[in-house]
Amino acid sequence: MSTFFHDWYYLSIRSIKQIWRPLLALIPSLFIPIFFFVVNAASLSAFADVPGFPEGVSYRDFIAPIALFTAVFFSAGNPGIEMVLDISSGYFKKLMIMPINRLAIIFGRLTEVAVQAVFQGLIVLVLLLAVGVRIRTGIPGTFAIFGLLIVFAMGWSCVSMTFALRTQNARLVQSLFVIVFPFLYITTSQAPMHLLPPTFRVLATYNPITYIIEGVRALVLNDWGDPAIWKGYAVAIGMFVVLVAVALSSFKKVMK
């Protein structure tokens, strides 16, 4: 086990350095959530007047958790891209013939995701606070939001790592970001569940992302008694366990 922690530590340092190399690569995953927040908050503000919309909540505050969520969601694909680059360059083979714990290779990447999630999430949070959004669960709630987003992002990043390991195709892994959109929009990201059309509502109910978004939203808009918080954590932890296991099992595919 000590080998695992040792390898995890050093592989994490390598992965974290890659976040800033190059620095410009951070811009798209920060630009997109801010762009959508500004556009949606401005153009859909009248939606808060629709009967059934939560009382006393502005549309800006309603979609503020989505800005936090997408800041993390869009960056969770990076580890897969970095892994497929390692595979295609041949560097991954070097790692495979070193006396290192393979789980540490995955966890090194997960640490990168966590660090990037905190970094990007903090930038978006500062912007949200600057425009007047308030987190009703306070500082403990802010930590809980980051905790939930980090667990989710680490699990979700395993999807791209699994594709990287199984296909070893950089183009495919890079194009995976498009699946983010259906997962993001077939949820309660834009409107409360009871205001969604019936078919959409069914799909959103089965979309695990809905529960993560509702968890973050509950922490921003409601109080600790909201069961959406615990449901969000349960789904994020469940996804994390399953997706890490799938990514780990995909290591065999790298060897022919």
């Binding site: 080998t3 040792h6 390898d7 050093y10 592989l11 340092i13 390598r14 350095k17 890659q18 190399r21 680059l85 390692d86 360059s89 041949g90 560097y91 991954f92 083979k93 070097k94 495979m96 013939i97 070193m98 006396p99 290192i100 060897m255 022919k256």
Partner: protein, 262 residues
Amino acid sequence: MASNIIQVRDLRKTYPTGTEAVKGVTFDVKEGEFFGFLGPNGAGKTTTINMLVDLVKRTSGEIEIDGLKLETDAREIYQRLGFAMQEVGLDETATAREMLQLHGRLYHMPPERIESQIQKLLKLVELEKVADRYTHTYSGGMRRRFDLALSLIHEPKILFLDEPTQGLDPHARKLIWGHLRELNKAGMTVFLTTHFMEEAEALCERLAIMDQGQIVTEGTVPELLQKHGAKNLEEVFLKTTGSTLGEDTVDPSGDPFIRSRH
């Protein structure tokens, strides 16, 4: 009499496409030996060397390295071997020094040992002045030399080299040959695959020539010349494989390790 550090028995590899890349290869490499694996492109050399380090799963056969078995002692084996592969795989987002430090750490070397090894190796491959540059800025020759340094960071007992001088200019090639000779003189076992006759003749104490997935002859250079009534190694090669060295063609199986000859 040195003991065998690598023992391979009836090693076979058949890819899912049905391509038989290696068809029952048996050989030994002695401790401290400079052993060469010579053969035309597509002979199965790279598949064999990749099976020896478990990068390619073998279909059947036995491999023992330094008395250890891959299936049960892979981590101990990895601690003892270095491998400079045909494809120079580097972390493009890191500098050479950072990569050497990371690898030293991952081999559980003490920090002061890592630093002294870094100094020594960068000097050896003449990259001291560019050690803090990102590896993506390196030329092909620099990348190959650095790859060799990287494979030596933990002072392995056995060094596997797969076509280590491919694509290098004559100066860089001679430079690497010199380093390899020194390492071998210092006691390191070197397992080299090459299709350069001159390289095999200049470096290897003993050679195995492989063709179409099988070892067709084996011995020291004088033994091979005598055995095949040849004047030089090239003639031995021609007589045993019936061919000259051809251009690379990727095998229809799609496996990058399997190549066929023109």
